[in-house]
Symmetry: C2
Subunit: 393 residues, 2 copies
């Protein structure tokens, strides 16, 4: 029996834990020790080690293998930046909107917060979210950690554009960040007037620095790069701006020699987060779990295969299924001790079906970039219960 110093001091050294009455190994008994008082902010339990996966000097991913449900804790939301995370003083922050507008205006943070606000639970995914995998020993977070889901709050961009008076000739706008990369993207006016948010809130509180504090653009369902963080300027124009991040980057060459630019929308994808590397299964019933998402709206169905894609059955979806948000799927499967390849395939409300890697590479052709890759992926459950990533699922 393990006895802590604190229990000795509390005179409870001989306490027998509840479980002991039923024959379990006797643990120390927390009910014999006065617990901790309230705290101004909570902390994780000491035994919980969940952390982001730092991929490079400019990116870290969400550790999906350690998460449940659909909400990503803000401090585990993925980050991706091109000039580091800037420190911005909210008291001097301002957003300039100019160009093809009647009233060029500078908004302070307080100004933005006076407008009607809007909150929605949405995923955000980097279009480069197919990690360089480490072969069989790749975790879900390494494979696809650059997607996360938060409740975003802000003012609709359409509200601000109404305030400044967008001219009829406006077709595009430039969104410019205040980071050292001055990351800049062109956004069609239709998206700006539809569901774009100038966001200052994330999961109930202020944005976190890595997600654009104090203010970012948020374009639901679109590649993360276009949702410009640390937003300082919007220039309304009649044409796209052809920035570095949409010409030399974030463009996909196709097999026929053409290239796709301004491919904003993220296509449907799914990811099994359990079982996965480095889990080891025991024989018996296993709940296959994961997340699916699509830039087209709602996930309609997630299919599961436990035989390498020969046959598929629909998983259960966590209700309510939210539009443009991670959707949790679950499927009970019996591991009998025979090797199995488990895979998931998302189908969205537009009818789009997540493609196999072969289908995707055939479309893209040789030399394709790593953007907007959403192949079906899978895991091999070996006969001994160990689980590894299957590169060519």
């Amino acid at each position: 029996m393990k006895v802590t110093r604190r229990e000795l001091l509390a005179g409870a050294a001989g306490a027998v834990a509840m479980g002991a009455t039923a024959g379990a190994q006797t643990p120390t008994d927390p009910s014999k020790v006065r617990g901790k008082p309230p705290r101004a902010t909570g902390q994780r339990a000491a035994a919980e080690k969940v952390q982001r996966i730092v991929r490079s000097g400019s990116a870290s991913g969400t550790p999906h293998e350690g998460l449940m449900g659909i909400i990503t804790p803000s401090d585990l939301h993925f980050e991706r930046h091109h000039g580091g995370v800037p420190e911005i003083d909210p008291s001097t922050y301002s957003l300039l909107i100019h160009g093809l507008v009647e009233r060029p205006t500078i908004f302070t943070l307080a100004d933005l917060k006076r407008f009607p606000s809007h909150s929605q639970i949405h995923f955000l995914e980097c279009s480069g979210n197919l990690g360089r995998t480490a072969g069989p020993e790749t975790t879900p977070g390494q494979l696809a950690g650059l997607t996360s889901t938060s409740e975003w709050t802000g003012v609709r961009l359409s509200t601000l554009l109404k305030e400044v008076g967008v001219r009829p000739t406006a077709k595009w706008l430039l969104a410019e960040g205040a980071d050292a990369a001055v990351l800049s993207r062109s956004v069609p006016i239709e998206k700006a007037l539809d569901d774009a948010i100038v966001a200052y809130g994330q999961n109930g509180e202020a944005l976190r620095p890595e997600q654009g504090y104090p203010v970012r653009l948020f374009l639901p369902g679109w590649e993360g790069n276009a949702s410009v963080k640390w937003l300082r300027r919007i220039d309304v124009s009649n044409r796209p701006f052809m920035t570095r991040e949409e010409t030399s980057k974030y463009t996909e060459p196709f097999a026929n020699g053409t290239a796709r630019m301004f491919s904003f929308r993220m296509d449907a994808r799914s990811l099994i987060t359990y079982p996965a590397f480095p889990n080891t299964l025991q024989k018996g019933w296993v709940e296959i779990k994961g997340i699916a998402w699509t830039g087209a709206g709602k996930i309609r169905r997630v299919d599961i295969s436990t035989n390498g894609g020969r046959t598929w059955v629909p998983a259960q979806l966590q209700e309510p299924v939210l539009s443009l948000a991670h959707t949790r799927f679950r499927h009970l499967w019996e591991f009998t001790g025979r090797e199995a390849v488990i895979m998931s395939r998302a189908v969205d409300e537009s009818g789009y079906v997540q493609p196999t890697r072969a289908e995707l590479l055939k479309l893209r052709g040789p030399g394709t970039t790593g953007y907007h890759l959403n192949p079906i992926t899978g895991w091999v459950v070996r006969a001994d219960g160990t689980v590894v990533y299957k590169e060519e699922a």
Copy 2:
């Protein structure tokens, strides 16, 4: 112009910020400084000071005045405990289910996680959530901070009860905590078999210690006290156990001399979180914002009065409205510089209407306890724009 030491070192002392071109006060320019690298876990921006409101040695509340949307960050979820927050080793944790069952069983945490899982976004409210107010200088979090909303994940209690084989004579069960108070409550078997969760997850990750780590009971829509934290034992019986927490406490005397016991369900309530003390308004349009919730399911409507309850108009509700979760409401109102009393009133899908304080006290009679008090509350916006709590709204 303020120049930081870092900017001087970076040779960017003379940098002119973007905003300056439009005539704004010149801020330092973060785009001239390389930002911070990725971090394994994020932290709040230094300027953000949001914290729980520590009310006593056994409770802290959610600072609703600083929050947006419906999700409460886990480290700001309210806490209420009767023996402090215990430290429990998850590797030795166990849950015993015994009594009127065929197979008394001890479940480890790993055992619980092997069962089919279930996640839902739900509020949790302490039935003592009408704070001792400090008169006019009371904040929303002081007034009603003992309610929070998280996405909870766990195994349905019905699944575990099926596993152990509940006998037909079972009518109630005892849920017992492992804290120093050994907090214990009786729960009707109908709730246990309906939507009760044995929860190990909160907002995507493990429960936080103050919310019951590693495992708690969660009874959607019911008073928080019955959702026993640090759950170590469930004893299935044919009668309630008449524990201290349901006899001397958590019972409401009525005007006619009787008392109501086992009043589990939380009735509909709403809270304006902005404007509120200590805000000061400028004249012009103001978005009145707040949260509403009900143990009966979904909020159907939130009415707003800006004239002390004489007339009411419906607020906008954040969609989708989730069952048994905080619902964010918003209403645009013009503050003209005339004193106004603003109030909110929740109506739920059962047709229940949040009562006035007078209606509630008439029903309860003199000497009523502080449990299950959900009166309409309000704020006075004075002519000078200062806002104070109105005790007798």
